[in-house]
């Protein structure tokens, strides 16, 4: 048996039946990381000692005949923008290169209380800003399926780790597609929950009205198990919602699936379009009613997102001042410490976003940019509200293209942003969405994006599971 090929339920059953121990399982993943990570650059740090001691603790519980929870002893990877107490948390930035997390993020406390084994922290675009993983200050993660291509971003390491069997599952975060895009590029399942479903406490903030933590895994069921564990109200995050997820038995048969016509226009790779349309046909074959719908304001989503997210980022990243924590470049006066610490600490894309955000919020431009974007955001939300009056779920692509070549778009930021064109609207509207691998172009995976209404993860996941069996 290859221990790195199991799903969460299979691993859990094996542990309970003592077919293998959690230490065996953990060592199998650590070995896989050792063998493959030099080339892939998936992990920024490996927490071998704490992983093994957690695994031993779970094994002890099993040997004493005690009950263990479903995630106990199961090895996972954590995006390096989520705090794990006592471990480095760099956000893939030079400015946080030596930062040690002083506390656990709520999602980490929840995983730890279930006995999860944390293997290490995964690579990402610096401060989660990017769609390819190439903005990491510590080098891009390579796509395990084609090492000349990107893994997708910003949760590049988390998706690649699952695809390369370097972790059984991983946590990522999604501000404008950062879970779904790398999941699509690496051929794994990635869930971006409803805004408020999962606490953001302990996630390094990027765009606070958009950020959500979510799971990346091999199967829909695995995503569901992790989501159930990490979701719920948290007093430390005022935007978290009182929500307890329950699995429902919902079938495609009789459901109404909306297909937004604006997602199938110029710019989409014809092969991607073909694969997505085939998946939609399969849903129809299973008894779903396919309805073409229109989201008229969706054409403004990308512009709207690239004003709002950088505006929030410019405010959130103001805290990196060289005084409280992180890189500090010594200088004679306080202003120079600010200027030099930020100037030396941040990479090119982060600087670009801080500049765009500062510009959009500054006197004289605020109304034309930030306020206008907020208004467009509301129009986009209204489009989705109207759509969900008519349909249960929406089906569309995650990305107009499969994984691009490393370096292909790095010199042209706008062309990089265009990879997010199908994902950002979901964050603007606060909706849940999942990326499900439904086909391949050569050996490059293509993800179907299933979008649900607010807090209807149950419906979305049930349908994703049914689709998973058909493709």
């Amino acid at each position: 048996m290859d221990l790195t090929e199991l799903t969460i339920t299979q691993a859990h059953e094996g542990l309970k039946k003592k077919e293998f121990s959690s230490v065996d399982l953990t060592k199998a993943y650590l070995e896989q990381i050792r063998k493959t990570d030099k080339e892939l650059n998936t992990y920024l740090s490996i927490t071998e000692n704490s992983a093994l001691s957690e695994a031993e603790a779970v094994d002890k519980k099993i040997s004493e005949g005690k009950d263990i929870s479903i995630l106990a002893g199961v090895p996972c990877a954590i995006k390096d923008a989520i705090l794990v107490e006592g471990e480095k948390c760099t956000a893939a930035s030079k400015i946080l290169e030596n930062y040690i997390a002083p506390y656990d993020a709520t999602v980490i406390s929840k995983l730890k209380s279930q006995g999860a084994v944390i293997l290490g922290k995964t690579n990402l675009d610096e401060f989660a800003m990017g769609g390819s993983g190439e903005n990491s200050a510590f080098g891009a993660t390579k796509n395990p399926l084609d090492k000349t291509r990107v893994a997708g971003g910003s949760s590049s390491g988390s998706a690649a780790a699952v695809a390369a069997a370097q972790a059984l599952y991983a946590l990522g975060s999604d501000t404008g597609g950062s879970i779904r895009l790398p999941s699509s590029f690496c051929g794994v399942v990635g869930l971006k929950p409803t805004y408020g479903a999962v606490s953001r406490y302990g996630l390094i903030a990027f765009g606070s009205s958009l950020d959500q933590i979510g799971p990346i895994a091999k199967t829909v069921e695995d995503c569901k198990i992790v989501f159930e564990t990490i979701s719920g109200k948290d007093p430390m995050d005022a935007t978290s919602a009182d929500y307890s997820f329950k699995t429902s038995k919902i079938e495609l048969k009789g459901l109404k699936i909306g297909v937004p016509k604006e997602y199938f226009v110029k710019g989409i790779d014809p092969e991607v379009e073909k694969i997505i349309k085939k998946a939609i046909q399969k849903a129809e074959g299973a008894g779903a009613e396919i309805i073409e719908i229109s989201l008229p304001s969706i054409e403004f989503a990308l512009a709207c997102y690239y004003i709002i997210a950088p505006s929030e980022a410019s405010a959130n990243l103001a805290r990196f001042d060289g005084i409280k924590y992180g890189l500090s470049v010594p200088a004679e006066n306080l202003l120079d410490i600010y200027l030099k610490s930020k100037g030396h600490g941040f990479g090119a894309e982060v600087k670009r976003r801080i500049m765009i955000g500062t510009f959009a919020l500054s006197s004289g431009y605020y109304d034309a940019y930030y306020k206008k974007a907020q208004e467009a955001r509301q129009l986009i939300r209204q489009d989705f509200v109207k759509a969900f009056e008519k349909v249960d779920l929406l089906f569309c692509p995650v990305s107009p293209v499969p994984a691009v070549k490393i370096g292909e778009r790095t010199n042209d930021p706008l062309s990089m942003y265009l990879m997010d064109i199908y994902t950002v609207s979901v964050n603007l509207a606060g909706l849940p969405a999942i990326s499900l691998p439904v086909g391949k172009i050569g050996n490059l995976p293509v993800g179907l994006q299933i979008i649900g209404n607010h807090f209807q993860e149950n419906k979305m996941l049930a349908v994703a599971e049914e689709m998973e069996k058909m493709v």
Binding site: Y99, I100, P102, Y103, S209, P235, A238, T239, S297, E299, F300, L302, A303, C304, Y306, I307, S314, A318, D321, G322, I323, K324, Y325, G326, L327, S328, A331, E332, N333, L334, L335, I337, Y338, L339, K340, K342, G343, H344, F346, A348, K351, R352, I354, M355, I356, T358, F359, S362, Y369, K372, A373, Q374, E375, A376, R377, Q378, L379, P413, L414, Y417
Partner: protein
């Protein structure tokens, strides 16, 4: 095209030191991105008021003191780049001399 002086002004507002080369690249990149934002001019006018301004009120909580792990303050101070005992050192914000 955004002017070079405007890029410099925004960088100063953002407390961001940019090299001459970075300013030139930033001018080019920001111009392309801001041009793309012109698309928003086509967006219809919003009917009614912006919802986001009201939402924050629902999320307020009681202002009360809660006990915290005593070691937390030690861990936080340990992360500061420049300190003396338990105090964080900061350069004077104004150059009075």
């Amino acid at each position: 095209m955004i002017l070079k002086d405007e890029v410099k002004r925004i960088a100063k507002l953002a407390r961001l030191e940019l090299t001459e080369k970075e300013i030139e690249k930033m001018q080019k990149d920001m111009s392309a991105i801001l041009d793309y934002f012109n698309l928003l001019k086509k967006a219809p006018k919003l009917e009614g008021v912006l919802a986001s301004s009201k939402e924050g009120l629902k999320m307020s909580r009681k202002d009360e003191v809660k006990s915290r792990d005593v070691n937390m303050s030690k861990r936080l101070i340990a992360l500061t780049p420049d300190k003396k005992d338990d105090y964080i050192k900061v350069r004077p914000p104004l150059n009075l001399l």
